[in-house]
């Protein structure tokens, strides 16, 4: 059996990618299991999905604690401790990162032991679609290739899963083309079979019940949500071109998260620790003084504090 854990942000398509791999494996006569995991959080927040494929019936259930392959849809997740992307990683784990860095650079930059492979899926998707859309097909393609699943199985799985989502024919066609090129171009690393033994059972944890005065969730701090950073949710960052700005306030008024404030001279100031990258300010700016730049290495890049 081989176990794959996908990590992405809500809306990036990790859940569908996991289904694509499961379906492709199933089409090759293997048994497959896939289960996404997302909390109550929303588009942009970390999500994961666990896929198991094998020749024998699969008896394990639940989250994969020691994956053979980790697929990371967004490099900002590696720095986000709540996402727990590298949990259960060992030297024999293969890790794929969607990044503009090469495999070696990614390995050093993110300090990942084990076998790292990388490809800029976001860039390939942008070139195919002209805008940032879900990465399900590229992520699924990369995983299928690394697992040694056939190109035809991938094709059938992508077509089937995307049709189930109600995507129009033309969009599915372009996803198929994109998946094929990702399948071709991902640098290969070996993915090993899980060493037979089941993980040791975890003893049951018995909670200690406190009286309601201690045990119930009360928020006695006020206005502390800024401690929760959402800057890592972005794929694109709004950047100001100051001489184009006429100080009209529209970006400030329309930002849903209230992360734009206006200076005394009526120039917008963006709080990048919390900007989710929705692009509303970019779309609404009448003078095009805000431009979307892909979130990449460099100053301004979000880093968890």
């Amino acid at each position: 059996m081989r176990s794959i854990r996908f990590h992405g942000r809500g809306g990036q398509g990790a859940k569908t990618a996991s289904r694509i791999v499961g379906t492709a494996a199933f089409l090759e006569g293997l048994t497959a299991q896939d289960s996404p995991l997302y909390g109550a959080e929303r588009r942009g927040a970390p999500v994961s999905a666990s896929t198991r494929i094998g020749r024998e019936p699969i008896r394990e259930r639940g989250l994969i604690l020691q994956p053979d392959l980790i697929i990371i849809a967004d490099e900002s997740l590696i720095d986000d401790s709540s996402a727990r992307v590298l949990d259960g990683l060992s030297e024999r784990t293969a890790v794929f990162v969607n990044t503009a860095l090469g495999s070696e650079q990614a390995r050093d930059r993110f300090r990942i032991p084990g076998r790292v492979t990388a490809l800029d899926l976001t860039d390939m998707t942008l070139r195919q679609f002209g805008k940032p859309v879900a990465l399900s097909a590229p992520l699924g393609a990369v995983a299928c290739r690394l697992l040694g699943l056939k190109a035809e199985s991938l094709r059938a799985a992508v077509a089937g899963e995307l049709a189930d989502l109600g995507l129009p024919e033309a969009v599915i066609e372009r996803n198929l083309a994109l998946a094929a090129s990702c399948y071709e171009s991902v640098p290969l690393v070996p993915v090993e079979e899980t060493a037979g033994a089941m993980p040791a059972p975890v003893p049951l944890w018995t909670p200690v019940y406190e009286p309601p005065t201690v045990g119930s969730a009360r928020i006695s701090a006020s206005a502390n949500s800024p401690l929760h950073e959402t800057g890592g949710w972005r794929t694109f960052r709004p950047v100001l071109v100051p001489d184009k700005c006429n100080g009209c306030w529209l970006c400030f008024v329309y930002c849903p998260d209230g992360v734009i404030s206006m200076t005394k001279d009526d120039l917008p100031l963006i709080d990048y620790d919390h900007c989710k990258g929705c692009q509303i300010c970019v779309q609404e700016c009448p003078t095009k003084a805000l431009v979307a730049e892909r979130e990449q290495e460099g100053a301004g890049t979000w880093r968890a504090k």
Partner: protein, 310 residues
Amino acid sequence: MPWQRETFKKIKQIPREEHVLPGTSLCAGCGGLEALRLAAKVLGDDVVYVNAAGCFTMLAAYPFTPFKGSWLYTTMGSAPAGAQGVRDALDVLIAKGRLPQRDDLKVVVLGGDGSTYDMALSSTSGAIYRGLDFYYFCYDNEAYGNTGVQLSAATPYGARTTTSPCSLQHPAGTIQEKKDIFEIWRAHKPPYIATVAPRYPLDLAEKFARAATFTGPKLFLALSACPTGWLYDPGETPEVAKLAVETGLWPLKEAINGAVTHTYLPKRKPVEEYLKLQGRFRHLFEPTKQEEAIRHIQERVDAYWQRVTV
């Protein structure tokens, strides 16, 4: 005489201060959050929010809160009852002198359309009947959003939800018409009700300022364009909200003691322009155009405006 704004005339009168702070876990580009943030700029900080389960559950996900004031979480059906309890407690404490009058708070219910139109309707009816002094802020994303976009009584005809998919029997998706909650509230004779859309921030702010002068139940129905449920790019949220108003599908209006005024008269673009932007209506255009369903939506809008403008 056409409706006039008295307090908010220029965009730079929108208060700079933020009362819903960043760091919440709502989707990037959430139109409901956009509306709440603008409303809170007028409501201020001296507020108790009474929140029915829904997407806004994620506003104050433990241990974080974006509010300087208080937040009480209730079940989907009982936020107005919760608001009654908070109002009564404040009144009693003030009457007994245990809380100075200046520490009084506004009580604001936050409810999705699922609770507002469906589950909490009876407790809301009771609260209005009792003349409860509160604001009811409904962020209308036209579906049960938090649980994965299921049909609600606010889902418009022709939209696709996970429980009203486009199918052989129902090619248009949802076949029910959106419940007219504005009129249901109006029949209860509260002092103030209004619809708002975040793309019209001055209209929105003005209505909250006006409502503050009324004691009793006050309703705000906020069009909450929802990228996740309506299937469009988050950056388009204001555009979608704008087209909802400009096509006449989302009339901006208020009713003071039952008398309705439309606060903005759109030129009325064809509804298609609004529908086309959103994946939840895509089946009306692809693979074959469902002329009949689109015409039906247009006719309903036309009939509405004909009724209210004669």
